[in-house]
Amino acid sequence: MKKKNKLYSVWTNHGVQSFIASLICIFFGLLVGYLVLLCINPAGAGRAMLAILQNFLYFPRPEVALEYFGSTLVKTAPLLMCTLSVLFAYKTGLFNIGASGQYTVGVGAALYLALKYQMPWFVCLIAAMLAGGLLGAAAGALKAYRNVNEVIACIMLNWLSLYTVNMVLNKVKEASTTYTGPLRTENPAALLPHMGLNKLFSDNRYVTIAILLAGLAAVFVWVLMEKTMMGFELKATGYNKNAAKYAGMREKRNVILTMFISGCLAGLGASFLYLSGIEQWSCAQTSVPGMGFNGIAAAFLGGLHPIGSIFSSFFIQHITSGGSYVDKMVYPSQISDLISSIIIYFCSFVLLIRYMINERVINKMGADILNTEEENVSDDEKGGEDR
């Protein structure tokens, strides 16, 4: 009886349910991905799947594997920031599909200041954060004052920011290519410091404090949402803006503030990637980076919990990076994106699966437990049961 009770509380625990649901989603994602590979070319399917799952473990030598592990982490940091951005807005009742756009203006601000004005890294970092935040706040203001659905506003702003950033960064691009100049030669002071972290990853020079900062951001978001008065207000506004107003909260300001913070997170994410020097921005880009959209899947895969997001972001980056090791002789080069997209797609079913688990647990297990508990209930309620 005791044991059953314990099991019941484990199974009805939100975290446990989310974790199992995530595993189920990943399993189905992998399965369907594998089937697609089989359809295209049965011969290499097993090997290709293995490559995706192995990612950096693909390299037999531990030093090399460690170095590539570092690179995966470097790319996980910005994804995690986008995930947190989506998650934070979602928890406060808003769907921030504009994380990509906020990320893009973050890139623009960071690189422009770094390359044009030779600013040090921390200035670029803060600028990226504010740029993202302001773009988010713009969508929030449209929602608060003009009742424009934030999804629509965000999608519009995504395009707006892409072309604006392309235009602005065009001024600091390399002469011969469409890419922005490499920071390492143009302005090393704009590169994020390593603080010795690179030593842990076979001297991978792209590993910087960004990965630590992203982890801290996850903790920060969790504390902000669950432990502070601001989180209390923002969530209340998201759930029921009438009640928030009734309780004297400034509900309009809160919507804007939510989107501002959400945008700040995405903007910071951009600086984490581009100020590590691992990538250069192509000014001929015709779509916003997928980070913000992958962040949506990662947020759900992580059970809508900031700490869960750390793992889900890593997983999604892991398979995305893994995709590049698929044998391009056997499969067309788009295959890696296709497979990771399929897996990411399945990741968005986490909530549904969790709901199904919850229903089953309550129906199957709750029955026994409540019945046995019932017998222990005092008799004062038993009167008048005659029919």
Partner: protein, 516 residues
């Protein structure tokens, strides 16, 4: 054996932490009005939701006309001719009344909406059953009373034969309730079978043929209404005797706490003022009640007082301070408590836990917040536990219960607990006993009077004349946005009030100075 229109056999429905329905059997005869009675949280709405396909029971079977049926969702229920008016309305806020009524069963021709026919049918039903609605008004603009009528029309429009009314009278005025009772009788005479939930025993005595009582999820018994009394029913339901008359001493009015001058609130969409030129005072130690038929500006008057709506003109003085243009938070801090008429729209954050809802008006005070802006979770828990205990707020998991899963009456009790415990100078209570059981009504009335005796100014808005007459010290009647009469409850009759409420008569309402 004759077949029942509906027979629910041995229904058991569980939620985490609670058995909402425990082996309940309910038999509904054809053409009868069957009342369902029970305390808040007894499991009435849950049982009806099972019948309507919103919940799947873990155990039990449902029979219709002697045939076993499976009801997996509301569509199944509709197909079987089962319709339900929910305790908390399920209407689309930004749709018109007509659109809400026909939603899901829109008449179409070649894929195009044919609203004219629908409108005709709706207007006929509205005429036939005296359910007055404005088919083109948006739901968000109309009063809860009219929303209620919309819900009823929605059910009638679908030609159902089993009708479930979950607390339909909670927000209606006396006249409307009489009309609804008549409608229900007519419907039953036409051969429809009706399940009717209400906490008002006189209504149950008046319309129902039989009554089934539930207590804490269990079946207590079914009685013929003709063979029972309200007292017997209430003790069957609560397990003790309930007094219906409120004991209260004489009021002892002190200084003016609320002083309203020439207050006007503009109507939506440029219509004429919904509150026009209202003047009145509420003193400490008295309960002033605003009586009137739903939709005569009472709601807007209160929104204006609490700050939810802007005034067009006029002043509100609270305890000597002009608060006419102060924000809501400021008015609250200066001592206004507000029990809102719509607990779901304003009163609660339904997705928050019960404990978070309990501190909704005070979360920012040092009691619950550290100086760095962190929540003091332990204090919140302790505070919520105290209120839950003092006000007997029942839920499945205590302070951490998500408010949405609580029964309607218990949500109401939670709001009341929060607002009264705030220790205000001015307590505004709009329909405070909406949807609570007889035991709780007694308790809430006692609390209102205790507040008065503690020197608070109490402004009560109620559509229920019983409540108006029993609780208040002074009655103001509101008609079409104006105050049209002031009365002493000891010296006025319900009939007389009725004349003023319908606009048949009016008098000048004087301010205190004018009286002297």
């Amino acid at each position: 054996m004759d077949n029942y229109a509906i027979e629910m056999r041995h229904i058991t429905k569980r939620f985490p932490g609670i058995i909402a329905n425990d082996d309940i059997t309910l038999q509904l005869k054809k053409g009868e009005i069957h009342a369902l009675l029970g305390e808040n949280g007894a499991g009435k709405s849950t049982l009806m939701s099972v019948l309507f396909g919103l919940y799947q029971p873990e155990e039990g079977e449902i029979y219709k006309d002697g045939r076993k049926v499976e009801i997996h969702n509301p569509n199944d229920a509709n197909a079987l001719g089962i319709g339900m008016v929910h305790q908390h309305f399920k209407l689309v806020e930004c749709f018109s009344v007509l659109d809400n009524i026909i939603l899901g069963v829109e008449p179409t021709k070649a894929g195009f909406l044919k609203k004219d026919e629908a409108r005709k049918k709706v207007m006929e039903l509205s005429e036939k059953y005296h359910l007055m609605v404005d088919p083109d008004a948006l739901i968000e603009d109309i009063t809860v009373g009219m929303q209620q009528r919309t819900e009823i029309l929605k059910m009638l429009y679908r030609d159902n034969e089993i009708l479930i009314f979950d607390e339909p009278t909670a927000v209606l005025s006396i006249q409307e309730i009489h009309e609804l009772m008549q409608i229900m009788k007519d419907l039953a005479r036409e051969g429809k079978s009706i399940l009717f939930i209400s906490h008002k025993l006189n209504e149950i005595m008046e319309v129902s043929d039989r009554c089934t009582v539930l207590r804490k999820g269990k079946y207590v018994g079914t009685v013929n209404t003709a063979d029972t009394t309200p007292e017997a029913l209430s003790s069957m339901m609560v397990g003790r005797d309930v007094s219906f008359k409120v004991e209260k001493g004489k009021a002892n009015p002190g200084k003016v706490i609320l002083d309203v001058r020439n207050m006007c609130v503009a109507g939506k969409h440029g219509k004429k003022d919904v509150v026009s030129n209202v003047n009145f005072q509420v003193r400490s130690g008295e309960i002033v009640c605003i009586a009137g038929i739903d939709g005569n500006g009472q709601s807007e008057l209160i929104y204006g007082l609490s700050g939810l709506e802007h005034l067009k003109s006029g002043t509100i003085v609270l305890n000597g301070k002009d608060v006419s243009s102060e924000p809501i938070r400021q008015r609250s801090v200066l001592g206004t408590s507000h029990i809102p008429e719509d607990r779901h729209k304003y009163g609660m954050v339904l997705d928050y836990s019960l404990e978070n809802n309990m501190v909704l008006q005070e979360y920012f005070t040092p009691e619950f917040i550290t100086s760095f802006g962190f929540l003091k979770q332990a204090s919140i828990r302790k505070f919520a536990k105290r209120l839950i205990k003092e006000y007997d707020v029942r839920s499945s998991q205590g302070p951490i219960t998500i408010a949405r899963t609580m029964s309607g009456g218990n949500q109401q009790k939670a709001v009341i607990a929060r607002e009264i415990d705030k220790d205000p100078r001015l307590l505004i209570a709009v329909q405070p006993t909406r949807g609570v059981d007889v035991g709780a009504i007694e308790f809430i009335h006692k609390q209102l009077i205790a507040q008065r005796d503690a020197g608070k100014a109490v402004l009560l808005v109620s559509l229920e004349l019983d409540e108006v007459m029993n609780v208040s010290d002074r009655i103001l009647v509101m008609y079409e946005g104006e105050l049209v009469g002031e009365f002493d409850p000891e010296k006025v009759t319900v009939e007389e009030l009725g004349l003023y409420m319908t606009g048949a008569r009016r008098q000048e309402v004087k301010t205190d100075e004018e009286k002297e």
